[in-house]
Subunit: 338 residues, 4 copies
């Protein structure tokens, strides 16, 4: 039999997903990856360093530092948990700034990528609305700014279909004029698995690259382009119908493999047929082959996206306000967001 | 081998989907169903009558008249097509009113079910906002109402979580006080297949039943409860992750069966394994068995839902305004919606 | 000289404004009015009882109990102050319920009057969205409701122009079906003076009367109509251009009178001319005579209305949640609003 | 008697208001101003040229060309009238571009100033959302752009309080990168008279200057700063409480002066006292003296601002789309706005 499949690379913006896939393909730990995992209070933090080019090629992610904060409970709209995640994010982000050598008074420009009219793509603009900006005080009367505040500005550059200008170009223009020391870019991502949608935050010092995120960017936001380092903060808010299907295949395979181990050998193959022998990329190719001609490989988002996106934007904005300004603390952080 | 599966009934709010499934199970046309199909300009209209109790049991839908308007192109946000669909909806809805014996001056109460804070559930309230209401003119100065207008009122009763009151009770209270002759209830539905999401409108003279639509209703809106007939207008705006997966299995099965017919017999079974031998309900049970314990059987909606829901609410409101008021015509219909 | 003026009655929904005007006209305290004032932390609370029909006629307000909470600082968007006002509102509202004999387990229906599409009229619907409703839990499983919660439901009945139904009729229908013991109706009001816009909350046990509030109601929400008592909570969010002008005349008169007392007798008359000799009603008549033919007697609202209305809706919803449910306290109240 | 008043200059962003005031002060036509007025269909168009520095100083407006479109009926929300105004705006704007020498293929950047969270300040961002942008097509595949389209981009730079960056700096950065030939900046203005709020559109080739508009700009958008010409389009959407009062004094003065002419000489002075002898600036000073210490000189906007602002943004966006792209005409213009 002859399944003539295109082998789709399963695109994901999350380094932890790339690593998982690479390890499956590689059959074990990939050299050059350092990983450290902390888990407490329902919050799992993975610190992954891609230390060299070989590892980078292997997992298809750039050399750099990646932090992933996974909180399955975030979907339950529990405001106590959200506060805890903000605090954890802030602590982790502060450590991250130290680690990558960002000094204490570095001037920050927060960039909220995405489209405020498309709910699952509105994460960036929503974070911008809730970020504590101070640059204008520093510009107008620098000696009157209370201690404990850092110089922060923020912009939502809009999307190509509304502005006719690449967000990268808008940001470049602003960077040239306002001379920040660091860019923090927030973007909504597409996930490989439905379970990570709205439950995962990734922080990485690699900037934003063409094709990442929900929107179709043709130019990136990187140190090469901007002249200053760019930290990307991303949250998966959508996934493709095809990846859902693919993801379920995986879950079924695991499920039946487990049962096989418990005394029903061969069952997985019997039930799932040749599908079990395909690589993930081949299987995805198969699903896309069926869905795309019908125009049904939709990008989908959970029904409750309106509330999810507000919650997680608030978590990130609060976390950034805590991390960037010493004067902001858990007792007063709520007064800075809307 | 022993797959011990719960046999899920595949719930759908769409009669055409129920009929399809029943025919697959039954192995041919179901007696007691009359169907007539028109197709033109990319708009497919299916008029399905469930004429007796036997047929009703067979397809799991009440005895009554069902119209389904399918327009795959609706997702492309083409305003010309939207106008055509409004006109087709209006024409079909007018014929439907005649067919079920609603007289020309019947007073209408439009009920917009759903939650305006949850985009894919906001269809009903959005239609209410754009419906042309006239009852207050009839109440205040009936002799001054221009000819060509019918007495129409409209209400969005809210959802249980916000009001603490079943929408059915709110509507009953209003019906008792305002004595309309006919209820038209608009509701967002869950679809069995992703392709029908935001592309299909169903009109039926059976009212709204507990458990239908996106929200969880415990009481219905039916002639028995309200004392006046209730026409339900529904649009699928979401579907379960599990139904997407199930739907893709079907598409794959069809795909490989076709190839088999073209010279590769047995291939479907080889590729898809035992999955091919399961009934749709069993397969869905299997998918749910894998997804639910992980909390991943999310209800999803297309990423572009904000724009879709506005467009289709506008199509329906325009269609109702055209159908209910003689004085509204294609030239002035746009001035009545926002 | 002969100024032939219509003597406008200066309409206000606020009892404290009516009392002020009556006292000016009467030349001293009006018999039958009991007033007690508390002031602390920038919050002024006036408890005014209109004890008999004579007093009622004199001030043009019904016999009943009126509480006015005035907080000039509310416009400064200080979240600490907002919390204090919520707490003060809750305490005062609790005392008010006792005073008018509402028992502890009285079932409450909160009615949010107004139009969510017109920002200054959206107060009622916004309070409904943030009220803690529990009736559905009492209906479904009364024995499983935790102690400390009262049975509360809430509805935003919409406005005549959108529904074609008087909000009074919608509420009557719902009251008949759901049998609450008490109605709490929230409404945006028109103020006589700009300074009270968005800074004043009035609570009164007289219900809602035709013509009150921003919207034009033809029927009221009163004990006579509904069969159960109705407490009205109102906040002025708009005023007429003409009342602003009139209000400024007053301020100027007071200003120059003060200077006169300080040694420049007769100055007021000299500067402001005959305007000083007109009654407030005559002066308003004059202003309207000039503005109305030009269509310029607009109803206006502060530029910052979007934020004001959200803040004050939150204050009232939090206050109601605190007052109606023993289980809600200052530590957890924020988790119940959005 | 001695009224010690600050003489306020009555600030207005509208050249026609400046001219009126200057003529009152000057006692006749101001040399160096050319004015031409057209009026038809309820649309009054005033073309005012400030031709030299002397005239400029006299009216406090820069040398340049000003077009004012006044449509009192715009407040009545008549969609036919709105279409007519769009068409008139487009025609006038086209002539204006010719007059000031903008060539046919000039690349345009539309700048929507203001804050989308503050309804009366959201005009600019709303126009940006509805403008037809094409620059990305010209960038990606210039030879595939259909004839009849011009290269247009659009940006809403946000406000200082949210971004920490002057909108002027944001625009400068973008201009330097994208090299447009012409800027069109849209801004919400403050009016001197309530009657012009939401009824008047001003077009001027003088750019945006610090302090103009609702927001407080410290830097402008002018040819000097940007290197390319900047046309400003403004609509008054708010006015100060004090200017309303002042405006009514004027109306009253005119009113009584008319009656005086009809046989009651001296009446104005008798009724309005010394107020009649003050200059407009002195009177405004007096009103502010009374209102400001109380914090009551609020900036107000009509109650119906939500709908007004959407309507007029749509009028301007449609007008720009018609004027800038030959391929857009009255039959298809509606499909380009939302």
């Amino acid at each position: 039999m002859n399944l003539d499949l295109r082998d789709y690379s399963v695109r994901t913006d999350l380094a932890v997903e790339s690593k998982e896939m690479a390890e499956t393909a590689y059959g074990g730990p990939v050299p050059g990856l350092n990983e450290q995992i902390d888990e407490h209070d329902g919050i799992k933090i993975t610190r992954l360093d891609v230390t060299n080019e070989a590892a980078s090629r292997q997992i298809g992610k750039m050399v750099g530092h990646y932090i992933t904060i996974e909180v399955p409970g975030l979907r339950s709209q529990d405001s106590d948990l959200q506060e805890k995640v903000s605090a954890a994010f802030a602590k982790e982000f502060g450590l991250f700034l130290n680690k990558i050598g960002v000094h204490e008074n570095a001037k920050v420009l927060i960039v909220g990528l995405g489209n405020w009219n498309v709910t699952p793509d509105a994460l960036g603009p929503l974070v911008v609305e809730n970020a504590l900006v101070t640059r204008h005080y520093f510009e107008l009367a620098p000696d009157q700014v209370s201690p404990g505040y850092r110089e922060v500005s923020a912009i939502a550059p809009g999307v190509l279909g509304i502005t006719g200008i690449e967000s990268s170009e808008v940001v470049q223009g602003i960077v040239e004029r306002t001379k920040p020391d660091l860019i923090i870019a927030i973007d909504a991502l597409a996930s490989r698995s439905l379970e990570r949608v709205n439950t995962t935050i990734q922080i990485a010092d690699i900037g934003i690259h063409p094709g990442s995120g929900i929107g179709n960017k043709r130019r990136g936001l990187t140190k090469e382009i901007l002249g200053v380092p760019c930290i990307a903060i991303g949250v998966p808010t959508v996934c493709y119908a095809s990846t859902i299907v693919n993801n379920v295949f995986d879950l079924m395979k695991t499920h039946f493999d487990q049962e096989s181990d418990e005394g029903q050998p061969g069952q997985t193959k019997q039930i799932l047929g040749l599908l079990t022998e395909l690589s993930e990329g081949e299987r995805l190719g198969l699903v896309k082959e069926v869905l795309e001609p019908l125009g049904h490989d939709l990008i989908v988002t959970p029904k409750e996206i309106d509330e999810f996106i507000e919650d997680i934007a608030n978590v990130i904005a609060s976390g950034l306000n805590l991390a960037l300004h010493e004067a902001v603390n858990p007792d007063n952080v709520a007064t800075y967001t809307h």
